[in-house]
Amino acid sequence: MSVISDIAAELADDARAAAMAPVESVKDAKYTLEGIREGRVSPATVLKTAGITLGAAVVVALLLFPLYWVAVGAFSGTGASLYSSSGIRLWPADPTIEPFLWVIGDLIVPSYRISLGLGGYEVFLQTPELTFLDVSQYGVTETSEFKRFFANSLTVAIPTVLLAMCLIVPSAYALSRRQFIGRSKVLYGYVLFTQIGGGLGVALLIALYALFVQFGFNDSKLALSAYYAATAVPFNTWLLKTYMDGIPVSYEEAAMIDGAPSWKIVTEIILPLSKAGLATVFIFTFLTGWTEFVVAQTLLSTDNYTLPVGLYSLVGRYSIPWARFSAFALTFAAPIMLIYLFAQRYIEGGLSFGGMEG
């Protein structure tokens, strides 16, 4: 549990730092300028830094150009298309946030009336209707079902992560630090199976569906989460195992000498030290639950559709409504971006394989 409070504290720190970033950079710039004037900082180094940063920024811009191009389309109203015979447009011809409004729809909390009968009177409390966003004011008459898909996706992704973590963490620990029969077989088997999901799989899909129906699980989001957790086991167990390999055994030995039972060693030493690896596995399993759509659309009924299935259903038989499609896709990716922004420090620590000198 202390792991969780640690993570919460660091998240809070990160949030504060992110909010303060612009202020910090202004302070930095002022300091540098003063330094140049006073002769402490040579202009050459500043120029070099600026130049290299600019170069890096150019690389980033080039990398993200396709996404920028799509974003331009997303802000362009219903006529947008990937192909424009009139030339490249670097700025939307007719900027409008209508597609995004279509995606998000109304954000209205309805008013509730809470009543309580006391004696001969009725006491009631009426909460006001909170309107965060009423898209009909902007001329958008239809809305997508993004919110419903979002709720469904959350109810699929969160159990996936929880279940996967419960399965993966003990396995990774055992594979990393213990010898037992069949250990290498399990490891090599997992390597083979990381690839089993890829490719076509229509026949696999049919078999899987038959399996689900057999147990009465079709159209169950929980069963889908279990499936995602199961497919996530091989790759993520491997990943976590290699990270745990980087924690020196000496820590454990010291604790054992101190008389700590192995149970405590795991929770108080190994887990905190592998926070980064845990965060990585968290993100990859969340991604599995959030972005998978082939099995989801086969298994789920229309009411339970998750976001990727909703996105795919926008694709018409021949043409794709690009503006709305892009707006939907970009909004779909937004939560993942946020998670990355906050968790990146953990990922960067997590995927390194310590103890490489050995």
Partner: protein
């Protein structure tokens, strides 16, 4: 806590379960859940590969056992070997590209003098969160053969002629590689960045004192330290390249006249388009076997499967 401690100890001490086997209990739940979902479908797939299942027969339960006939058909098909060849070529070129690009970008966003590194890193990770079909359709639009496709427009701005990207074999191959590199770079960059951050400072400083320039330091200090994680990532991305289906399929259904058909595209066209499930299963299993062996060999060579005690 102490109740749990004593419970665990009692289990460990009991004669039925030896202490050495306790770790097996930790591994079993994961293994069990995985097998529960995947074992039946995989076994079913293996069974199908020995039958001549088609929708007409499969759904009435009337498929017939044909033994190795499917495998023979596949392995004796010239187009299959063409696919194998192209696929391995694609793996070689795209992995080289991905590793170079990943390393390069990783170096750029961890460079000492770069301000705003963290923010840049967060930005370039975005493609990993978008569904593949979406990003691949975008790249299809970029590499469109039409004169107004994005790539062609850039070429025209640079004064060159437009290229019919998707109707020429090697141009299409180039397009596949570029797209694959773009799709895979976030994964490689994450791994490279974390690996680079683990390179010990003392080694760098020692090398600088000895007068090593930037490149010399890169070759002799940085590279050896990040070899392991990059190797692991390379194995994984090689497997992803091998199984790439959407890129060739969405772009031009496997190259002009099936010349750039990667293995899974071949499987799709031979089997799934005609709904020959038996043949399709056979092709898929061949693909999985080949890539599985490849990965296992590499894992063994890189000693990645060793536990912490074996190191």
């Amino acid at each position: 806590m102490s109740v749990v401690d004593s419970a665990v100890e009692r289990v460990a001490d009991s004669p039925v379960v030896s202490k050495d086997d306790l770790p097996l209990l930790l591994v079993l739940p994961g293994l069990f859940v995985f097998l529960a979902f995947m074992l039946f479908p995989v076994l079913y797939l293996v069974y199908l590969s020995f039958t001549n299942a088609e929708p007409a027969t499969l759904f009435q339960g009337k498929e017939q056992w044909v033994g190795l006939a499917n495998y023979v058909t596949v392995l004796s098909d010239g187009q299959f070997w063409n696919s194998m060849g192209v696929t391995w070529l694609f793996v070689a070129t795209s992995v080289a590209l991905k590793v170079l690009v990943g390393l390069g970008i990783g170096l750029v966003v961890t460079g000492e003098r770069v301000r705003g590194k963290r923010f840049m890193r967060a930005l370039i990770i975005i493609p990993l969160g978008l569904p593949g079909i979406f990003t691949i359709t975008i790249w299809r639009g970029i590499f469109s053969s039409a004169e107004f496709g994005l790539a062609n427009q850039f070429l025209q701005m640079a004064g060159l002629d437009s290229i019919a990207w998707l109707s020429e074999r090697w141009m299409a191959f180039l397009a596949y590689n570029v797209t694959e590199a773009w799709l895979a770079y976030p994964f490689m960059v994450i791994i490279t960045v974390s690996a680079l951050q683990d390179v010990s400072e003392e080694l760098h400083e020692a090398a600088m004192i000895d007068g090593a320039g930037f490149f010399a330091r890169f070759l002799h200090v940085t590279l050896p330290s990040i070899k392991r994680p990059v190797l692991f990532a390379s194995i994984l991305t090689a497997a992803a390249s091998f199984q790439q289906f959407l890129i060739p399929y969405v772009f031009n259904q496997g190259g002009p006249s099936r010349t750039n058909e990667l293995l899974i595209v071949y499987g799709y066209r031979e089997a799934f388009r005609f709904q020959k499930y038996g043949e399709g299963a056979a092709i898929m299993l061949v693909a999985v076997a080949v890539i599985g062996v490849f990965m296992m060999l590499n894992v063994k060579k890189g000693q990645l499967a060793d536990g912490v005690d074996d190191a």
